[in-house]
Amino acid sequence: MAYLLTHLVDDTAAQSPDQLAFRFGNQALTYAELARQSNQLANLLRAEGVERGDRVGIYLNRCLETAVAVYGILKAGAAFVPLDPAQPVARTQYLLDNCTIKILLTNKSQRRRLPDLLTNPGPLQLVIGGEAAWTGRKLPWAAIQSMTDSTPEVRILSDDLAYIIFSSGSTGQPKGIMHSHRSGLAYARLSVDLYGVKATDVIGNFCALHFDQCTFGYFSSMLAGATTIIVSDAHTKFPVSLLQLIEQEKMTIWYSVPLVMTQMIQSGALAKHDLSALRWVKFGGEAFSPHQLVQLMAHMPNAIFSNVYGPAEVNQCTFYHIDEPPSPEAPIPLGEVWDDTEILILDAADEPVTAGEVGELLVRSSTRMLGYWRDPERTERSFFQHRKSGGPVQIFYRTGDLVCTSAGRSVAEIPRSRDVLLFMGRKDRQIKTRGYRVELEEVESILNAQPGVLEAAVYPIKNGPEGLLIHALVVSDQSLEPPAIKQGMALHLPAYSIPAEIRFVQALPRTDAGKIDRRSLQTLLA
């Protein structure tokens, strides 16, 4: 019975050994090769002293080795910690220290960064795959080939720690989201079921390993016996090349942040490519501007489009399948709560709101994280303990997202019998301006819906004793006038919510994951 993430690969390898598990450029790994190589890596890690529960770092760009690394570390009974090479070295050193990482997996693509990183290696004792000269031990990646390929005998339980994803966090230190084999596997099962993932599917994995959307390409795909295409770092920078890749590989399922698809539209090359193999296009991590989505849908006639919502702490919790091009006026709903999941919508006093009212979303599900790494206080704050009439304690995760149900709202464009959730902003992005409470998210979505606006971000600016003022950045390929935009917005928003200043830029600052980088926006413009 499959109860560990590692069983996903081993089970498919037993049934269809020659099926392709991962492809990257002209390299590929069959399920049998992945099972064998990850066993070898696990045996090497065990021989090097890795014990159940240890953390092993993965310091790699997008590449085929990431797949072997993930499953090799898991098979050794350890947890993998993806470390983003694009992050400043000091942050990575902090994470090495914070997670007591003794072994680091890397390859020669990091040869420029590695020497810097190793100037302060903290607890590191061994680097596998790195060429840098340092006083600690190092082994070439090829060292795994000399190891036995039998499955290591380690007792691993389904609720053992499997991986830690560090979110960049809007403030302060990065927080480490701990997931178990159980929560990862629960996500794989639910997503394979919801999207009907089959062995014939070819899944485009856009995001880097340190981003939680990877669970679809690295776990769900393995459960279905499908093939995951690891999109190279180079392809992520060139939308035209990315479109070529989607066409060449005949990808059937795509999953990324909306930005990637917006860039494909802006490249003007959408129409030149045959994207008819795509049957499902999933987007999440940020709101997709309905304007852009309509254009995309026109070019991908065979695809179902889906909004995916769920903080990394719970993987995913809602879905919204879009049957018809949405109205550009209304933001796309978060959607329906998926299986094995229930929600609460609570007010500031932790009491349920009445139907249709806005409150914080809390989620209870099998896909929930174990907690935050070495941060019991934050974990406790983020968990809401609910006990119904003396029964067992039920733990809900506080998302910090404000939502409401569509019940009682005139949401004409939702032709659904069931209620869906609507996103109403972040709890911490609610500001007071000129004495009024304003949801910045709402202002942003109205601004995004204005004609000619390709992308937009709004942010609060300190304005002396008056408090905060709303400013906006807009990306457009037309010559727009701020007064005209403000007039358009005034049809939907009260005067105090309209940005006091609108500036035009070529592009918005983005995090490595492709989301709008709110922090650098703030520091850039403060």
Binding site: N61, A86, Q110, A234, K237, S267
Partner: protein, 87 residues
Amino acid sequence: MKIEISTMEDRIIDFIRLEILGEGPSFELDADEDLLGSGLIGSMDIFRLIEFIEREFSIKVNPADMTIEHFATVTALTQFIQQQQAV
């Protein structure tokens, strides 16, 4: 006026080294080094690089030409610029 290949390469390398990576002359950057796969150059840097070559070599880079093939290495970029100048 036509610019020699080596000087064109050198000017691009200088720009990447100084303006994008913030490194001094001691930082070795080979014309054939993969700029993209190792993450040496980020997404936002591409726009700065394009601005630079458009200004420096009086060409226009169309969105359709923004591909891996043209930007993978300094050598590839140099060839692309020369093609554009010849048009």
